[in-house]
């Protein structure tokens, strides 16, 4: 019960605080999941973010659902997704149904404008963490080479990042080397 309550709180907060759509709540997810409740390590969270980006569809619900599932099975998943999306859906529907004139709502835009740089700042900090991890795991030179290749693929060749991650995924899973084959053999 405590776990479900924690899941609810974590994803309710990320939903209600994520000004700027689902992607804006990624740093908030990380703060709750890795920092606050310690359900995952930084590495696991990065992995979830990576798989999320290879697949189509909204990123926030994919992450909430998957993390909820890992923490507490199917009910954790349902709980996490609903806590993340339901409050703002209700807010939106109620406002649009009862607000006769949408212009009445303009002042809210001033309020939310102040949150944008804060989201940018948290996203920047998260970026820095991933750069550090990349340097630690792959070394400065290899990170840089891989980074430049990815940048060229994304911005010059206009290949979608989901496809790039997909290719890397395929490459690391199917690339053969002797040591790995041995382990594969043991498992199957």
């Amino acid at each position: 019960m405590k776990t479900q309550w924690n899941i609810f709180i974590a994803f309710f907060r990320t939903g209600m605080l994520g000004f700027g759509g689902g992607p804006a709540s990624i740093p908030l997810f990380q703060k709750e999941v890795v920092g606050n409740f310690k359900w995952m390590t930084e590495e696991e969270f990065g992995e979830v973010l990576a798989i999320g980006n290879t697949l189509p569809g909204p990123i926030a619900t994919k992450m909430a659902g998957y993390i909820g599932y890992r923490v507490s099975g199917i009910w954790g998943m349902i709980n996490a997704v609903l806590a993340n999306i339901l409050p703002t859906i209700i807010l939106m529907t109620v406002l649009l149904t009862f607000l006769s004139n949408l212009r009445d709502f303009d002042w809210v835009q001033g309020m939310t404008a102040a949150v944008v740089p804060i989201v940018g700042m948290m996203m920047g900090v998260l970026t820095k963490q991933f750069i550090d991890k990349s340097v630690k795991g792959l070394g400065v030179r290899f990170s840089l080479v891989l980074g430049v290749i990815v940048l060229i693929a994304m911005y010059i060749a206009s290949i979608h990042p989901g496809i790039i991650i997909g290719v890397l995924l395929g490459y690391s899973l199917f690339k053969k080397d002797k040591k790995n084959n041995k382990n594969e053999g043991k498992r199957s």
Binding site: G22, P23, G57, A114, M123, G162
Partner: protein, 175 residues
């Protein structure tokens, strides 16, 4: 029949929209405005503007409201499910496979190889948010809010909720 249309109108953008919810908005507009004519372009952009000023994922908010308008509460449930479920199921399958083999050296290598890609994607989003902020509230306000929130959230470890509430109040008065 109407529920089938609602399902398809949100299933297709959900399954074709790469890059999260915001990327699927033009696809949702295509279905809702051009194909099914549930809203006019003007109505759609007004709903989108309100949606963007509220917190939470944008794709599900749009699906929820439009589903409700077209088919009541059941329409809302159908639209939101069509948006969320297909990609979430894919996520559980792919995540499950990688989790099962998490100790395999290949999966470990994969996790390291994707790090620079994730860093670049996050970096791109960071730049987008700062550009949006610069265009919206100018350089000085952006700098001020960035520095103060960095000190409070990352150095003093204040929970982001408190800072975001503070920013909303500040924005209400000064922006």
């Amino acid at each position: 029949m109407i529920y089938w249309h609602i399902f398809m109108a949100f299933f297709i953008p959900g399954i074709l929209g790469y890059g999260g919810g915001p990327a699927s908005i033009p696809l949702i507009e295509e279905e809702v405005v051009s194909r099914y004519e549930w809203l006019t372009v003007q109505e759609f952009s007004e709903v989108l503007a309100l949606g963007n000023s509220l917190p939470g994922p944008i794709a599900t908010k749009m699906a929820g409201y439009i589903g409700f308008e077209v088919g009541g509460v059941l329409g809302l449930i159908v639209a939101v499910t069509a948006t969320v479920a297909p990609s979430l199921i894919l996520m559980l399958v792919l995540g499950g496979i990688l989790y099962k083999y998490k100790d395999s050296p290949k999966v470990k290598r994969l996790k390291t190889y994707v790090l620079p890609v994730i860093a670049i994607l996050l970096g791109e989003m960071t730049i987008n948010f700062f550009v949006e902020s610069y265009v919206g509230i100018g350089f000085l306000q952006t700098l001020l809010l960035t520095v103060i929130s960095y000190i409070l959230i990352e150095v003093k470890k204040v929970h982001p909720a408190i800072i975001i509430f503070g920013a909303l109040i500040y924005g209400g008065f000064f922006l």
